[in-house]
């Protein structure tokens, strides 16, 4: 079972490595959305510091949705998804492997970019550290919950917008705890509580999402 999971993850990593353009697009989207906010609301460092964590987090949600629309769609189009579902291995592992691979490809790089964006928003070093920690715990949630949405809208017309509609409300707790952790650091109350709750939400998503995503895949491909 573990080997099957690794195979699914390795396959997606390999596919992503062969198509670097797609990968770069998602990261560039993240950077651009965040960088547009100071242009829209002004460059006052005090103001930027107070909105920075929220802006980075909202941009992370949108960037993850952008790439999630294709999570199963490419494999569905060329028929390989059906072959995977026909295999004797459990569908749950396919869903989990795909979500984990999505996080490695699209979630992890956000961690590397976030400190630069934090500097743009005049965040102090400590807050940048907490921002990275909150993204490290929070972005897997986005990939896991998003895999459910991606499986539900598989093959539908206008799937991308639909995915946004059905998944964004479910992202709300991750956004609140993630951005809240950085806000709490800035306010001097400590991020411990927020990060713990974010971690609890991650564990719940890790247990529940792959099963629902697997059920949704079965429904969508039938």
């Amino acid at each position: 079972m573990g080997r099957f999971l690794l195979t699914v993850i390795r396959r997606d990593l390999l596919l992503a490595a062969r198509r670097r353009g797609d990968w770069l697009t998602a990261q560039a989207f993240f950077v651009m959305v965040v960088s547009l906010f100071p242009l829209g609301i002004g460059a006052d460092p005090q103001l930027l510091r107070s909105i920075g964590p929220g802006v980075v987090w909202v941009a992370a949600l949108l960037a993850s949705l952008l790439s999630l629309a294709r999570l199963f769609a490419d494999d569905h189009r060329d028929g390989s998804l059906e072959q995977m579902l026909l295999s004797p291995e459990p569908t749950v592992l396919i869903a989990l492997g795909k979500a984990l691979a999505h996080w490695l490809i699209y979630g992890l790089p956000l961690l590397a970019i976030a400190p630069l964006l934090g500097l743009q928003f005049a965040l102090p070093a400590e807050a940048i550290g907490v921002l990275m920690a909150s993204l490290a715990i929070g972005t897997p949630i986005l990939s896991l919950l998003g895999s459910v949405g991606a499986a539900l809208v598989l093959g539908l017309r206008g799937g991308g917008v639909l995915l946004t509609l059905i998944i964004l409300p479910l992202y709300v707790p991750a956004l609140i705890f993630g951005a809240g952790a950085v806000d709490a650091t800035l306010a001097g109350t400590g991020a411990q509580a927020h990060l713990s709750l974010l971690g609890a939400f991650l564990l719940m998503c890790l247990v529940v999402s792959p099963w629902v995503a697997a059920a949704a895949l079965r429904v969508s491909v039938e």
Partner: protein, 243 residues
């Protein structure tokens, strides 16, 4: 004959039962609305703090209750449908969703109307308001998913899965929003804890029952048309439509 639940789980028999129940609930809703509004608008005294503006609660509170409650009922029917593969359960979930979304919207709308004279603002990012808004987003997402899927079985199951994962999330969303709210604003604006006059409470309860009756009648009427649409190839539907 004793009331047999399985007998009415078949769309063909439920169609007739729903048809017989609709007038009762429909007229019941109309009657209760008249009584409730009469109590609310004419009998109940003016609030000494909020003036007459408080009277919107006779619509607002029942609507907010129904918005939340209908979502739970939808989740229940979705779970039953996925577990037992009963066709009628998915139809009930579909029939309930528009009414639930409507009540949630009415709750937000009347809340804004109440907030302007009382709080001095149409909208605050209060925990309840925010979580009700997110509930409306959940309804919209489910309705959008249903309308995007042409295949009936896939739509039923996909909508049910989304409803259930939303239902798991609703308490988490509520508590996260509440916590976010207490962290962001120190002294939040809350109506003062005046105890409610008995006649006000009575009016509100009557209106709550009116909302219940209306929701049941609307859902039954909608489920009847869904049954007709889905079973249109069967003999009994052809007989009804011709006779």
């Amino acid at each position: 004959m004793a009331f047999n639940l399985y007998y009415y789980a078949s769309p063909a028999t439920f169609y007739g039962l729903a048809g017989r129940l609709i007038p009762w609930f429909g007229w019941g809703a109309a009657l209760l609305t008249i009584i409730g509004l009469y109590i609310g608008l004419f009998v109940a005294p003016t609030d000494f703090q909020q003036g007459d503006a408080y009277r919107v609660i006779f619509i607002h509170v029942p609507a907010a209750w129904m918005g939340m409650f209908i979502y739970l009922v939808m989740a229940f029917w979705s779970a039953v449908g996925l577990a037992f593969k009963t066709r009628l359960s998915f139809m009930m979930a579909r029939a309930l969703a528009p009414t639930g979304a409507m009540f949630t919207f009415v709750a937000l709308w009347t809340g804004a109307l109440w907030g302007k004279p009382t709080w001095g603002t149409w909208w605050v990012w209060d925990a309840r308001l925010t979580s009700t808004l997110i509930l409306l987003f959940l309804y919209i997402g489910i309705l959008a998913l249903w309308s995007a899927i042409d295949d009936r079985q896939r739509g039923d199951k996909a909508g049910a899965l989304l409803t259930l994962i939303g239902a798991v999330n609703v308490p988490i969303i509520y508590f996260s929003v509440q916590w976010w709210n207490t962290l962001h604003q120190g002294a939040s604006i809350k109506p003062s804890g005046t105890s409610m006059d008995e006649i006000m409470l009575a009016g509100m309860l009557v209106m709550a029952f009116a909302a219940w009756f209306y929701a049941i009648a609307a859902a039954l009427a909608r489920v009847r048309s869904i049954i007709l649409e889905r079973e249109r190839h069967t003999e009994w539907v052809k007989q009804i439509l011709q006779g």
